[in-house]
């Protein structure tokens, strides 16, 4: 996890992202999944690649919470990951990178 983002990448306008779901943005050679929890007004960003079978799929996964903790489920085999820490929530040994997100002037920025 990167606490001190060096760059804020201007990804796309807020309206490009679904409410209570995810979408994928491209940053150089990277694919980043962005998720928006509407009721909580919270945004999260993670790698789009699922570490389980290396599928570019997390942005197409369903989001939700486990005991109040935000998560995403990979559409392939339903491995779930914390959107805050990137850890696998089934206790398995892989995780994803998470990135900070900020909203400014109607745009989504991702800290890389």
């Amino acid at each position: 996890m990167n606490n001190q983002p060096t760059t804020w990448f201007k990804a796309a306008p807020v309206s490009a992202f679904p409410e209570n779901g995810g979408a994928c943005v491209k940053y150089n050679d990277k694919q980043i999944a962005v998720f928006h929890f509407k009721q909580l007004d919270k945004w999260y960003a993670t790698d789009n690649e699922c570490p389980h079978k290396h599928q570019m799929a997390l942005s197409r996964g369903m989001i939700g919470d486990q005991q109040g903790h935000p998560k995403v489920a990979c559409p392939f085999h339903k491995k779930t990951f914390s959107l805050e820490t990137g850890l696998n929530l089934q206790g398995e040994d892989y995780c994803i990178n998470v990135y900070p997100v900020k909203i400014e002037d109607g745009f989504v920025f991702i800290g890389i």
């Binding site: 995810g22 491209k26 694919q31 389980h52 599928q55 197409r60 369903m62 486990q66 398995e92 040994d93």
Partner: protein
């Protein structure tokens, strides 16, 4: 504080790892400084489930604990480092790179290697052993150019290896020296039954064969046997037993057995008291234990004794820590974890020395052989053998271990449950004493598990595994964990209600009713009104399905609550592309439509396959291509086939009376009518159907959720059949129906199922849980015993009337169409997609 005791472990296999874990839990860090040296390139992994690697389980999933675990617990882990020398006098070990590591106490956990007989030609290419991930990688690699494999050795491991080569697509032979398979676990009759079972799987068995040489050039091409016969093969896996890795111990001058193995006493000390040996390398009272559970027990004994030692200087006993552990002879019961063949032997399978009587049940037709050895007074079980059906293995093993008194008719333990008998015979899990060891790998008792369930309110088996570690070894006890959970919850007076998930305290049936009566139409409303939190991947698609079954709105309007297939209205496939299946009602298709399919497939470079449901599946479409593909398909009259949805797939049909000389009704015509009536309806799970034109049943209607078979007078309607994992024949609901009545009954049946099933429950499973069975179902559907028939028909008619082709809606609605793109900030396809060529078409590259 004294210096921490320097403990060095040689070998980072299953037992070496378990030893570290146990040492840590005894006292935590501080008392010891631990170094583990392993020769394999990665940290210890689950060798017992090695074969799962073939079916896609990753190395990470097999790993016992990641390298970070060792670091976090202050253990120095050296992988890829082989210990080549012990200096017992100077108390250090030396590795192949020259590293010298001093120790106070040394633990040898070097395991064993495959025993490779010195047969001429054994060094040829294409000859493998089956022990490590590297071995498996080599086998997988070589198998691509091979067609016939022989496994040498018909024991537990050999048969597992044989199943693996069979699954790799090779013609598979097993060559066994003894006159029967698994000679150490099975008697002649049991082994005979197992042989038939293996042959039925497609594995050829050769007994009484002594391999005298491997022939061929650089690579193996043939096995020659001592009896003059031979077998052509291009690949060999040797699984002829294990050889303890005692070479290091020998070099250090420690006592080893005449046939290998490092000699240890009851405290598992070798002939040098500062050096211990545990796991498969240790020879205890003349026994090498080739199983993981005794190895774990050895790890426990040494961990305990070292803890006592280090907290206490030398030898006196610390009361709080209890007495020093001693390793006792261990139970060698085993269950083969092959898929498709149940085999187990437990306790004393042969009873060669103990006076006993045997109970034998043999059913050649079903391929079942069961043998119980009972004390001569008929009171206690001594052991036994199970082939073909081993469901009772765990209970029988516990009956032996805990010396439970047998019921008056012990044969009931192995006979199929008698009809109408009510309670199952023999001891149930409730009869086991609290001290009964449930998980023998981790040595966890029934009492400990029940206590953990109560104290920590453990909700499911996964939580029990995490909290107690039970079930994390060989996994054999998992079914018992589940029984214990139900038992314990029941005892606490907790009703085990099937709620949707943590976000909703209602069953699906209750939710259905709540949504319908409250008129809530979106997931957000439903969760706000009846649930809590933000939902999850379980309740979102479940609610989406119910909303669709009730209102039949366009599902794409709430795309983010749909499973990925429903979100993009196509089936996601390996690699992340999608497949497209247009509806072909009844399997009837015009030449124009066929041409259009070909044209589209060529234009978008899609892989084509005819499905089992009489349709064409086009694979490899990128997400942004989907609307364009559909635009072209819609033009020639295709509609969504809902292959992606939990909804009606195909109504398969035979040609029936229009072409077939046996046909008595127009099967295709009726199939088309049925398919068009129920298409697009969302249900708890997918629905399959078929119509056959006569009793010859060429459309296989009896394997469907609802199937229709023509009679001279009309149609017979069958329901709740299933193919898939657990095939089940559909049962006759009503016979000789006219078209209208047949549809009326299907209407009622489907709606009743849709309203009352659990999420993702197929009709067959739903039916199996339905109290009252077919008689009850018939009463509801035909005699309207609940007085809901009219309502069911009405609700179903609403769904028929509101049918819309969701792909047409998607293509024609710009907001929906715009969502079909991989990135939202650039218009580019996913650059990571990769395909390879196969038989003239494409397929995704391997994962």
């Amino acid at each position: 504080m004294t210096q921490p005791l320097k403990v060095v472990v040689v070998g980072n296999g299953m037992v070496g790892y378990k030893f570290c874990e146990k040492l840590l839990t005894k006292v935590g860090g501080g008392l010891f400084s631990i170094t583990v040296i392993g020769e394999e390139p990665r940290p210890a992994y689950d060798r017992v489930h090695l074969s799962a690697y073939f079916s896609g389980t990753s190395v990470e999933e097999l790993t016992m604990a990641p390298a970070s675990w060792y670091a976090e617990h202050g253990i120095q882990l050296l992988t890829g480092e082989c210990v080549v020398k012990i200096d017992p006098a100077a108390h250090y070990v030396q590795t192949h790179t020259g590293l010298q590591i001093p120790y106070d106490k040394l633990v040898l956990a070097t395991g064993s290697g495959a025993f490779v007989p010195s047969v001429p030609g054994v060094e040829k290419e294409g000859v493998f052993v089956y022990r490590t991930i590297e071995d498996l990688d080599a086998i997988i690699g070589y198998s691509k150019g091979a067609t016939r494999a022989a496994v040498i050795g018909g024991g537990l491991l050999g048969l597992e290896a044989a199943k693996a080569t069979l699954d790799l697509g090779l013609e598979t032979h097993v060559v066994e020296f003894a006159p029967r398979l698994m000679p150490r676990q099975l008697d002649a009759a049991g082994a005979g039954m197992l042989k038939r079972k293996m042959e039925a799987l497609g594995i050829q068995i050769h007994l009484n064969k002594n391999t005298s040489h491997f022939d061929g050039g650089a690579a193996v091409a043939r096995l020659s046997f001592a009896d003059g016969t031979s077998l052509e093969v291009d690949m060999v896996v040797i699984s002829a037993g294990i050889r303890p890795r005692d070479e290091l111990a020998k070099q250090a001058g420690l006592a080893v057995g005449p046939r290998g193995g490092i000699m240890v006493n009851d405290e598992l000390q070798t002939s040098d008291t500062d050096i211990y040996a545990i796991g498969e390398c240790a020879l205890h009272k003349g026994m090498i234990y080739g199983l993981v559970a005794p190895g774990y027990e050895m790890a426990e004994v040494v961990a305990k004794n070292l803890t006592i030692l280090s907290s206490n200087g030398e030898t006196t006993i610390v009361p709080s820590l209890g007495e020093r552990g001693l390793f006792k002879a261990f139970d060698m019961s085993t269950k083969l974890k092959l898929i498709g063949v149940d085999v187990a032997s437990f306790g004393e399978p042969f009873c060669e020395q103990t006076p006993h009587d045997t109970i034998i049940v043999e059913d050649k037709l079903k391929g079942i052989y069961k043998r119980l050895n009972v004390t001569t007074d008929g009171k206690y079980l001594l052991g036994g053998i199970l082939v073909g059906e081993a469901e009772n293995y765990n209970m029988l093993l516990q009956t032996v271990k805990n010396r439970l008194v047998l019921p008056p008719n012990p044969e009931d333990l192995v006979l199929p449950a008698r009809k109408g008998d009510g309670a199952s015979a023999g001891a149930g899990i409730a009869d086991l004493p609290d001290e009964a060891s449930i998980c023998s790998c981790e040595n966890i008792t029934k009492g400990a598990i029940c206590q953990a369930i109560e104290e920590h309110n453990l909700p499911d088996v996964a939580a029990i595994k995490k909290c107690t570690k039970a079930g994390t070894g060989c996994g054999g006890c998992v079914p018992m964990l589940s029984d214990l959970l139900t038992e314990t919850l029941k005892k606490q007076g907790k009703v085990v209600k099937k709620v949707l998930c943590e976000h909703f305290d209602y069953s699906r049936q209750e939710m259905y009713h709540l949504i319908q009566t409250s008129g809530t139409r979106t997931y957000d409303e439903v969760v706000a009104k009846f649930g809590k939190g933000c939902g999850c991947e379980v309740c979102k698609p479940a609610v989406a399905s119910m909303l669709a079954s009730i209102y039949n709105d366009v599902i794409a309007k709430q795309a983010v609550i749909q499973d990925t297939n429903d979100r993009f209205m196509a089936n996601i496939q390996r690699g992340g592309t999608y497949s497209v299946v247009p509806r072909v009602p009844g399997g009837e298709i015009t030449p124009e439509q066929l041409i259009a399919l070909g044209t589209v497939a060529k234009k978008y470079d899609l892989y084509c396959k005819i499905t089992g449901g009489q349709r064409v599946d086009l694979f490899g479409a990128r997400v942004e291509q989907l609307p364009f593909i559909w635009e072209e398909l819609l033009e020639v009259g295709f509609e969504s086939g809902h292959a992606y949805g939990k909804s009606l797939r195909t109504v398969k049909s035979c040609v029936g009376s229009t072409w077939c000389r046996f046909g008595v009704q127009d099967a295709v015509g009726f199939a088309i009518r049925v398919e068009n009536r129920y298409k697009g309806i969302r249900s708890p799970h997918k629905l399959k159907s078929a119509v056959s034109g006569c009793t010859r049943e060429c459309a296989e209607a009896q394997s469907k959720d609802f199937g229709i078979i023509a009679t001279e007078k009309g149609w017979n309607l069958y329901v709740c059949g299933n193919g898939g994992i657990k095939p089940q024949h559909a049962l006759l609901l009503a016979s000789d129906l006219d078209d209208e009545t047949c549809l009326k009954y299907i209407d009622r049946f489907l709606m009743f199922y849709i309203k009352t099933a659990e999420p993702l429950q197929r009709t067959a499973t739903w039916f199996n849980k339905l109290e009252g069975g077919m008689e009850y179902l018939r009463d509801v559907i035909i005699n309207d015993s609940l007085g809901i028939a009219a309502e069911l028909e009405q609700e179903l008619q609403y769904l028929v009337d509101t049918y819309h082709d969701e792909w047409r809606v998607a293509v024609e609605t710009p907001e929906i169409r715009a969502r079909f793109s991989h990135f939202v900030n650039v218009e580019e396809p996913d650059p990571t997609l990769e395909f390879v060529e196969m038989r003239g078409q494409k397929r995704p590259a391997d994962w």
